[in-house]
Symmetry: C7
């Protein structure tokens, strides 16, 4: 994209998520909850103690997963509340 | 793309959205309403006090979300009115 | 793409659309009608006084929207006529 | 792609389409019929006197449209015949 | 991709297809049969005397079509036999 | 992607597949069985004596096909066994 | 993407997966279980003794498969437990 603005401050929030419990929503709406071990600028990431949720139901658990960033819709801290 | 025009003025509207209440419509038609904390030229963004809407119904709320820009359909100021 | 032709004249029509009333059809077939405030070579654009149409019915109105260009199917001047 | 051949002659047919009546089939199978005003190597193009066809039925007409090339499936001269 | 092999011989088969009768299967499973007039490394191509087949039924015929390569699934010589 | 590891050994298995009988599964789950004549790093490939399988049923046979790599899900040697 | 952070430590977990039993979930939700023989930064990978699972049911087995990375959703060690 050619939009010429530069953000005033970097999106350094991804760094603040390291070692935190996060919620990763994928484009398919499946969610992975776990501890953010690492993440890069493409949102490729490593989660520990990962739990998979499908329609709010836990579907599987994984020790460690490497998620390919292009599947990600958003990442949030786990202190969020579903209605 | 090779279209050789350059826009007369930069798309600096994204900067004007910082700290404003915005509506983010995704390709999936899910909307996120929240305060725009940061955004880059790919429309990667951080929202605070985020509320998720699906078909006009609030479905979830999140403290802070990092949305991957390639999912975005449009961003608008929150002073818009649905019919 | 490697097709080696260069267009004889640039696609400067996008510049001519500035400040004009336009129709933006998205891949999802949703349309946005509004005043073209800005557009870049990826067809990222800013519309003012935007009205959203779905199947010919107005579904919402927005003050200002920033549309991500990769969702766009075509842009037209608003003096077009549906059958 | 890394296939190391170079086409013997350039795809200059797109230039020959300028000012001709063309049929543009999109991936969605919608067709636009009109006069090719301009086209670039990504198949971004401007059509004049555009008519939209859906399943063989004319659905709309537009004065001038700018079609984003990544939606295009093929372009043909209008002297083609449907069965 | 980073796989470090280089093919032993170039994919020069596309050149051998010039002026031959070919079958072009698209991702949508629609097929175009015609004479390969030109093709580039992205599989953008020009076909002459093109016939469109949908589920084995001829659906349309076109004088000349320019197919955008990213829609292509495979290209084959026309001496193939459906079962 | 920015993950900074380099694989210890190159993915030279694709070279070992040359002149071997292979199974190519596409994203659409259609399979092509044939002799691997050539393949490049994008998994563009040429197959000889190609047979197309859909849901385990042979649907067509082709002399030689050029498959566009971005459609590929995986490639396997043909000594695999379906259950 | 332009987010300016650099991860503190590289995503070297992919290297640690070499010669380990892994689970590869694709976007289509099909899973491949096998020994990770090689992987690159795009998540192109070679698996040995591969078993394909569809909805938790083993559907096929393959000696060696080369999976195209852009189909991958996540990679996990095989010591995970489905619920």
């Amino acid at each position: 994209m050619s939009m010429s603005i530069q953000p005033k401050k970097p999106l350094n929030i991804l760094q603040k998520m390291l070692d935190k419990e996060v919620v990763v929503r994928l484009k398919s709406n499946i969610e992975y909850h776990g501890k953010m071990v690492n993440v890069d600028i493409y949102m490729n990431m490593i989660l520990d103690n990962t739990k998979e949720y499908n329609n709010g139901q836990q579907a599987a658990s994984y020790g460690t997963v490497v998620i390919r960033g292009n599947n990600v819709l958003f990442i949030s801290f786990r202190n969020s509340s579903n209605l």
